[in-house]
Symmetry: C2
Subunit: 312 residues, 2 copies
């Protein structure tokens, strides 16, 4: 399988530049003091639509447009952030967007998709419904992670980290289907080869960890839902797994209680509104699932902020 | 009375640079769509200690140090953000800090002061207690707004806005004692003379509005507390009033319900954790207290983020 390259990511960065923000890399004094290393947060919650997802969605639609293949309609499936991102990209490029989302989708995410004009079908068979809609509409599916153009788009996060920061020692990336961590690791392998890139999944939804152990795509049985709803991908893709095997140093998982505590604390410490999925890196450091590089520089990729704030 | 100049602000910027963050100026698509103009947020909630206040506090202590007059101890009074900022500056420069804060201080603010090692005296006579402590300790008071060095430090926010943005049309600034708006307006008058700078107070605590009308400092009677606790200065200072008269285009006030609604909405729209004081500019635009420059560029100065998130 042909992997996404750092050149693909550079091309994506040029392509999507008019449509995405270059998000800030924020120093966080409190977390630095707590962990004994310099902790920076890549604040993708401040991205348009409130998550990193427009990077991959815009790169895919713009790539299709360059090839003269921009469709009138696309479908996709998503916990909500990719859905909003495809709706956002579609609105800019004149493409109608229909998404399948879980019945349990967060209200903030449903509202967000509607805001950009996306049509929503609620279902618990996300991928099956998406594929059925694609057949009915005779239109392409812009899958949330397992497309090279999506991986390349998400990789622009890693490119920006390395442009802002000469020598990160460790970058922690939330993992759902693996597109973000695969893309970021590819960009960082090129620009900062000594930096470790580690993906973090909720233990309740660890499709990538299981697939790496099994050496094949694993479909997760429907289990208890994780509070990190944005990471509840029912499987990892073949493209993302290949990318992760080549470029990612490790993939670890964290428990629900650790995610919930990290969620409250990281919002207080950073003054950013974050969704639970965005804080799994902090949870992993605190739980010892990833060793802290003492005195080094750690980047936590805060993937999104589409959630109601936690209750006291 | 000698006013603070843009040169004073430039000197402050150089002085405080090692101790403060250059905060991002963030585009907010949702508020831009709502208001029909380009809305940017100067995210001072992301500043060290969670508010803009270290700018003025650091500039004052560093100025004293340059003059060979750095004391071993300072006292101050504050709703909490200035207190944390002085404690922060004191920790860096080896100065012991004692602050008088209101009995009703937000827990997030009490915690924040303690985090930086500040000693807290809870009282409802903020200024009186501060002055008594200064006499007892025989040390200087680093007042929260009515010092030229504080005004110059806060003015660095305006300098950064103009460095990031060629032609703002309107900058809205939360007003407590008036140090922030006075400093920002001074910087902007120099760098972007066509830009309007408007201060916004809670109607329940409008010391500056009243002083401008009365042409003298007005001490507010103790009334119902505003949700925008950071803006509940019991009076505006002589220095800040002089600065405001010279440089600020207008000062308006907004009601509690408008602040509360703006608080929830602005957190959702920006994905920033903000305290109610930080959102009065949005409340003023929505209430019509300040005309929206249609198609223009508006900067909302989000002054801080030290509060528990709003409940659903």
């Amino acid at each position: 399988m042909e992997l996404v390259s750092s050149d693909d990511i550079a091309a994506a960065a040029r392509r999507i530049e008019p449509y995405v923000l270059r998000t800030p890399l924020l120093h966080t004094e409190r977390l630095s003091d707590e962990l004994g290393c310099r902790v920076l947060v890549k604040a993708e919650n401040l991205q348009h639509t409130g998550s990193f997802k427009p990077r991959g969605a815009c790169n895919t639609l713009l790539s299709w447009q360059e090839q003269g293949e921009l469709p009138e309609r696309v479908v996709t499936f998503s916990a909500g952030n990719h859905a909003a991102a495809v709706a956002y990209a579609g609105r800019h490029l004149g493409v109608t967007v229909t998404v399948s989302m879980p019945e349990s989708a967060q209200q903030a995410k449903v509202d967000n998709v509607r805001r950009y004009g996306g049509e929503i079908v609620l279902t618990d068979d996300l991928r099956g419904t998406c594929d059925r809609l694609a057949r009915e509409y005779d239109c392409p599916a812009l899958y949330p992670f397992d497309l090279p153009a999506v991986i390349a788009g998400q990789g622009t996060v890693g490119r920006e980290i390395c442009a802002d920061l000469l020598e990160p020692d460790l970058v922690l990336v939330p993992v759902g289907g693996g597109g973000l961590v695969g893309g970021i690791a590819t960009a960082i392998a090129d620009a900062a080869p000594d930096c470790r890139v580690v993906g973090v999944e909720p233990a309740l939804s660890n499709a990538v960890e299981q697939a790496l152990a099994a050496h094949e795509v694993v479909r997760l049985p429907r289990g208890a839902p994780t509070i990190a709803d944005g990471l509840a991908a029912p499987f990892a893709g073949e493209h993302t797994l290949a990318q992760i095997r080549r470029y990612v140093d490790d993939v670890v998982s964290v428990g629900e209680r650790d995610i919930e505590t990290a969620w409250r604390d990281m919002i207080t410490a950073t003054r950013l509104l974050l969704e639970p999925s965005a804080v799994v890196g902090l949870a992993a450091l605190r739980a010892g699932a990833v060793p802290v590089p003492e005195g080094g520089t750690v980047v936590l990729v805060a993937s999104g902020g589409n959630a109601a704030p936690p209750r006291d």
